[in-house]
Each structure stands twice: as structure tokens, then as C-alpha cells.
Amino acid sequence: YDDPHGLPEKTEYLLQEWVAMYHLPNAGRDSSKAFGHFVTQMSLHGVLKTDDLITRFFRLCTQFCVDISYRALASEPTADLIRSKAFHTLDAYVRLIALLIKHSGDANNGVTKVNLLNKVLGIVAGVLLQDQEVRGAEFQQLAYHRILIMLFLELNAPEQVLDSINFQVLTAFCHTLHILRPAKAPGFAYAWLEIVSHRVFIGRLLSITPQQKGWGMYAQLLIDLFKFLAPFLRNAELSKPVSMLYKGTLRVLLVLLHDFPEFLCDYHYGFCDVIPPNCIQMRNLILSAFPRNMRLPDPFTPNLKVDMLPEISHAPRVLTHFAAMIQPPTLKKDLDSYLKTRGPVTFLSELRSVVQVHVSSMNLHVSPEPGMHYNLPLLNALVLYVGTQAIQSIQTKGLSPSMATIGHSSYMDIFQSLAVNLDTEGRYLFINAIANQLRYPNSHTHYFSCVLLCLFAEANSEAIQEQITRVLLERLIVNRPHPWGLLITFIELIKNPVFKFWNHEFVHCAPEIEKLFESVARSCM
């Protein structure tokens, strides 16, 4: 950093001075009196003279605070003593940052305040990433966690000067936490989730900020978390560290399901895109969310008329631009052309004849890695895109989705050809993409429920029927919660004689499987 000669020493002296002033009984309300004296000292020492010096000052202070924390971790015998020693300096430093931010520029000039906040957060993030790089397994999150969460709490105090820049403050923190996402700072992952799920953080981003303007940022942070967890959850055995993080994630999702179900409804698509397909309970938890003002009819109600439900024809909000995920553009053009004109037949025959190759040229194939043959985001986007186009087409005709209205259409051609031509792995992912739309009563749930039942009824091989049953069953046998749309689809499958469900060999393939189906059937009848 080639700091100017003497700056580190000067900075350390000033920091120690501030810490002492901060802890004096007469520091005044929120240390304002002490701050007044201290700013004079900072000016005398010239550390506020230029932007470069301010940056160096904060980096050096951050590094001193981190060093003090590591020394406390190494020297103090108990967690309490470590924390009281380290926080003695850290909390004072956070207060100084907060005061400098609140008082930078004139009162109503939010820009200078937010710029200074972004600078400081960037410095803390930079020091953290470098520290993690240098210390490796010796890295400890304590100092960074304390600085970030206490600064967040200080800058979310009920004060006029802060209220006017609150959205920028939230944006700055979300941006920093994205930079420090677990994939980049795995050593900080637990503290990261602690901050992201802190009651004030959730409250500000999901409840207090008007017009749900914080929802997109919060969704991005959860996607960062799912992306990090995905490879470790992909295999059934979880290590203790992963299990801890996974369990913590479930707790956070339960709070969101209980308090902000509409948030999970709106972003379910983006979440399910990155949650590994075998992570069934966590995905069910997200898919089970439904708007609080909606009353779900009991799926086990005899002769439930799903298509008579008022909300069943309403399209749910999907805040991910899934159509843009259909790449390359030529693929989207060919797809649109086929959906519109049900031609050229080559498009389907390509799908049908060289679905593997075609699938690869749809670059659904991304790598020869076993179990990683398919571009899941593309497959998910394709299914949802074709489905929404189909719903639009059906509703334009004044119809509603049913076994009769969805069949023999360009949309079902696509689904049929994927069902018939993909291999077991590909078909499993394809059926999952459909099952991920089985949620609360809405037009997507309704349509995709019909698609699944239609694929079952018109399957040209029992393997397809067995796989559809498997995908539904594995989502049903896990612990609660279960999405409403999943339950009504499965009940229809085992109840409606048109599917001849009970005649299939695989239904009786093992006593416990047979018993399971019967127990579900009993609770339906």
C-alpha cells in the first residue's frame, strides 16, 4: 500500500485516542461530544485531507481492529472475555464510522454520506477477503461480523438523517454481502447468514422498505447462499459444517414462509433454479408458500373442483426473466416459430431424432460430468416458457386448461417429445421442472398439473409413467410442508380411473411402496 511515512503510527494513535474518548462516561449521547473533539484531532493530523488519505485511514483502522481481535482470540481464555476485549475497540470504531458518515457533507446531502459508506464497506470487504486469503484455515470472522452488523444496526437507528438515505444504506450492505457471498468468503459464511437473517436486516429489506424495493436484493442474497450450498447438498451425505449451514438456511426459510410467503412466491423460480433437484424438502418449503390472503381448499376434499376455484385462472407473479434464459437467440426464434405454426416438423423431429444432439445444440448438455449432463436453468426456462405460452393461447380461446384443451397442441408436442426422447436423467429433470410449478391455486399450477397427468395418460412407455410417479412420490414422502398443487395432482392421479394408476406394475413393486400408496389413497377417500 506504500502508506505515507508515519501514517500507520498516526492512525493507530488516533484510533486509540478515539476508543478512550468513546468509553468516557461524559462522551455524550451517541458519543456526539467526544466526536466533536475527535474530528478536530483528525483534521490536525491531516487524515481527512484527501480522499486517498481517508481511504488509507479506514483501511489501517480496520486492520488494527482485526489485529486486536486476533490477539484477543489468541490470548483471552473464554468467549466472553475475547468478545468484551475485542468489542471494546470494534464498537468504538463502528461508532466513529457511523458518526463520520452522518456528519459528512451537509445534513441533507445524502450522496457524500452514501459514498463514504460504500468506501468503508468496500475496505472492510477487501481486508476480509485478503485476510481469508492469507490466513486460510486460521481466518476468523469475529471482527468482520461485529463491524458489519453493528454498523448496519447503527445506520438503521431511527434518526432523520439516516431515514432519508436508508434505501441506499440497504443497497450498500446488500452489495457488500454479495461481494462477500459464501462462494467468495466461505470462512465468513456462518457470520454472513447471521447478518442476512438478522431480525433488523429482514425487517428493513422485506417489511419496512416500501413497495417491496428490498425484495430483489434479498432474493439475490438467498440465491448466492443456495448456489454455494448446492454442490454440498447435491450428495445425500452432508458433512457437519454443511449440515449446520443447511439447518440454519431452513430456519431462515421457515421465518420467510411464515412472515413473507409472497416473497417466496414471487422468487420461487429463481430459487428452484439453483437448489439441487435432490434437495426436496427445502424446495417443497419454498413451493409451499402461498399468499396470506388466500384460503387453500383442503386437497383431500372429495370431488374438489379445482377449475372452479376463483384464483385458478390468475397468473402468479414470476419475478425472474426466465424467457431471457432461453439461449442462444436462434433457439428461442425456432421455438417461437414452432409454437406458433406447429412447424417446421424438423424442429420436433430434431428434438425427437437427435434429442441428445439437439439437446446439446440446445446446449442442455453442458458437460460429460456424470449427473451433470443438462443445463438445468435452460431446461427449467424452456418448460416454464412453453407453459406460459400455452396458458395464454388457451385463455385467449376463452378456455381453461384441462386434459381436453391442452392436448394436441404445439406446446404439448414439445413436452411429449422431451418426455419420450430424453434419457432417464434428462427426463427426471424435465419432470421436476414441471413439478416445480405445482404450488398454490394459480394458472401455472393448474396447467402444469394437467400437463403431468396428460403425459402420464398418453405415455408410450411405462417407464415414463413410473418416473412421473417417482418425482411426485419423492416430494410427498419427505417431511412437511407439501405444496398444495403437488397434493391435488397426486390425488387426481390415484383417484381418477382414466389413469388406471393401480394397474401399473410399479405400484406393487414393493410392499412398503404399495402400503404407502394405499395410505395416501385412504386419506383421499
Binding site: 449521547r29 431462515v252 411464515h258
Partner: protein
């Protein structure tokens, strides 16, 4: 089979929002009133 999500220390039937007292991803219990920092009138900070 996943786990029984009612055993994670969250009162999922609570009529009140959970996040106000959420103890964090590793907490087995919600926060108690004495765990929650509150912006009380400065006069209350009798030290």
C-alpha cells in the same frame, strides 16, 4: 425424508411475525426481550 421442521425452535403457529424475535439461523430459541437492543429514551441509559 428431510427433517421435522417443527422442531427447529420456531413457533410456526404464532399469529405474530417470527422475524422480530428471530434468534438467528443457529438459535434453538427465539430472542428474549433482554436480548433485543431497543432505542429507549436516552434518559433510561442510567449506566
Amino acid at each position: 425424508l428431510g427433517s421435522d421442521l417443527t422442531t427447529l425452535g420456531l413457533n410456526l403457529n404464532s399469529p405474530e411475525p417470527l422475524y422480530n424475535n428471530f434468534g438467528g439461523p443457529w438459535a434453538e430459541n427465539p430472542c428474549r426481550p433482554q436480548d433485543i437492543d431497543f432505542h429507549v429514551p436516552p434518559e433510561y441509559l442510567t449506566n
